[in-house]
Symmetry: C2
Subunit: 381 residues, 2 copies
């Protein structure tokens, strides 16, 4: 097997070696409980505080706005379940886009079972939230609107600023939750200025470790906790702090934000090289809209099933996903691709390439020929 | 500052170096998402499966009985909230002992706010669940009984087998949840044979990392998830798996169980040396009952506040806690110590020594004189 070209960064990213190095002492040596009063506890408490301040500074929020969780899924659950459990928030309707991650869609479904009026905001054929349709849905009693900032399957950037302006104008009491699991560190959006209330983040999508994330309250929002206990995280999320994970998330957020900022031009050049390569491939259809970003490219080669394409790419050392990783074990076509207007057959033939700060222009002379070799075999099927 | 004698293992334990070594590749190299279909994903999926099998084997349960969580607190929340959210379980009463951890007590309080009839099972002056009082409380419509197996402040082992027998006789449909966060790997109980349905575990109390735990269904119990999403963990706990944490928990569970088994005699000798030392100290009162274990010793030196004792011990390199770590920032006396019959003044003067596999007989010739030096100064206050 050839050395892998890892192109599955929307599923999970490589822990940055410098992040690991910076956080490893909090696995190895500093094993105190942050609630303990002795030096090993105080040191743990201090570095958790430091990571909280780093994340808050990056997002222009006060430190107490940051609640560390076990990941993006828990953050989305805390945002939605927490807002609907709070008696201080009004409205019984929840609006979610049709292309949200299961962390939002499944939570919405559970809330619907408790009487919440859940409505889906349709998306255009470009995979972009339809603002006129959203405005029409805002006529009711809307407590929360939840939209993913950078779609994990299509790579489309959603119009977060425009949605924020619309909400400020039409529904100023509605809580705006943004699932920024894919967008964080990549899109240079000022989330707070955009009118976002709640932002969900994940460590392992930004070169941090799995098992840690955050929910950030960019504006004050009353929330009920999901997990009760010792009162950690200001009472919003109990349980002994994952000190290593939190420290690593702080470092990863800072480091990866800087790397993406420095690589902005290179990232476009890298994606363009792929788009040129794909354009030269017969029968290949690329999903690309005006909201495309250079982080994710989705393409299909009908009627070949995605799993078969994946297998051939893997033989050349290219590691990719079919649709989203979370859904890739299921045989059904992705709800996201269908919502964006793809046929069922095309959706089932789709492959996602997703890039990280480790995918640099330097690898193109090796990865593109490897891709071409796999495609030559696939074209003959 | 002298080299620390870490005697705060009920708050958190040192990650075992061999556990770190075994699990580190899953931070460093194997960064795939277990849901991905390429080799990096499949390898991650395989090792998560392996850790699940290890934990299941140690507990005599099938692998699918193990649900990995972010820690003991989440496990306890999932057990209690999950059981009360399930329409398939009957009964509206929840019985919790008076000396439970906040992970159980606070969850019970939240359930009470939703209409659950929460009752506290009193404990004897020895800090042991009162079986006659429990039986009297079982006359109603009890859905769940929750009892901690090894108390984190008193060190008392609770009569889990006797409670299991009582439930089998009087309330066979009642779900028996055991918070085994402190007991796991230490007490040689066959939890399944004891009639336990749900067992909550934590990684960082058994020389694993913080941020991982498990809820184990030793008998089939319908539960509703707390966290919805991609359907990981058999749909009971969504979110990308914390591969490193899960692998480390598997290794830690196995290794620490073996170490505690091998050290059983040494552990008693070690605790006895402390008890002898404490017995020789004027004014020191040790909490010790017939259910005491050699893992935790609680003592007081009235009227000196626990914080002052802690500070003097720390100056000699002894790291301890006052009451439980989670509550140690609060000025109120521990609810556990009060429930076990201690006066408020004595509870506020209490110090907890808690031991791990790294506290061996070898350290006694160094740690006891250091303790004595601190106590000499404290006795003069």
């Amino acid at each position: 097997m050839a050395a892998p070209f890892y192109l599955d960064n929307a599923a999970s990213t490589r822990l940055h070696p410098e992040v690991l190095e910076a956080a490893l002492p909090f696995l190895r040596d500093c094993y105190g409980n942050p609630s303990s009063l002795h030096p090993l506890g105080m040191q743990a408490r201090r570095v958790v505080k430091g990571a909280r301040e780093t994340l808050a500074r990056l997002l222009g929020a006060p430190p107490q706005a940051v609640t560390f969780t076990a990941g993006g899924t828990e953050s989305c659950n805390l945002a939605l379940q927490g807002a609907f459990a709070s008696a201080r928030l009004k409205g019984q309707r929840l609006l979610v886009s049709a292309i949200e991650h299961p962390a939002v869609l499944e939570t919405a479904q559970r809330l619907a079972a408790t009487g919440v009026d859940v409505r889906r905001i349709p998306v255009t054929a470009g995979g972009i939230v339809d603002l006129a349709a959203l405005e029409a849905l805002l006529d009711g009693d809307v407590r929360v609107v939840s939209v993913m900032a950078l779609n994990n399957e299509l790579g489309t950037a959603q119009p977060i600023e425009a949605i924020g302006r619309l909400l400020a104008r039409v529904a100023p009491r509605t809580v705006f939750h943004v699932d920024a699991v894919q967008a964080f560190t990549k899109l240079p959006v000022n989330w707070r200025a955009a009118g976002v209330h709640l932002l969900s983040l994940s460590g392992h999508k930004v070169h941090g470790p799995k098992g840690v994330g955050a929910l950030v309250r960019l504006r004050p929002v009353p929330l009920e906790p999901l997990i009760a206990g010792g009162g950690q995280e200001g009472g919003l999320r109990s349980g002994t702090e994952n000190v290593f994970g939190i420290v690593a998330l702080g470092h990863a957020a800072q480091r990866t934000t800087a790397l993406h900022a420095a690589q902005r031009e290179q990232r476009c050049g890298y994606a363009d090289a792929w788009l040129t390569e794909l354009a030269g491939q017969p029968r290949v259809e690329v999903f690309r809209s005006e909201a495309a970003t250079p982080f994710i490219i989705s393409f299909s080669l009908e009627p070949i099933p995605g799993e078969v394409i994946l297998h051939h790419l893997e033989q050349e050392g290219l590691y990719v996903s079919t649709g989203s990783a979370c859904a890739s074990a299921k045989p059904e076509p992705s709800h996201v691709l269908l919502a964006a207007g793809l046929s069922e057959r095309r959706a089932l033939s789709s492959i996602r390439l997703s890039f990280s700060v480790f995918n640099t222009l330097d690898e193109l002379p090796a990865v593109l020929p490897a891709f071409r070799r796999a495609m030559e075999r696939l074209q003959r099927l």
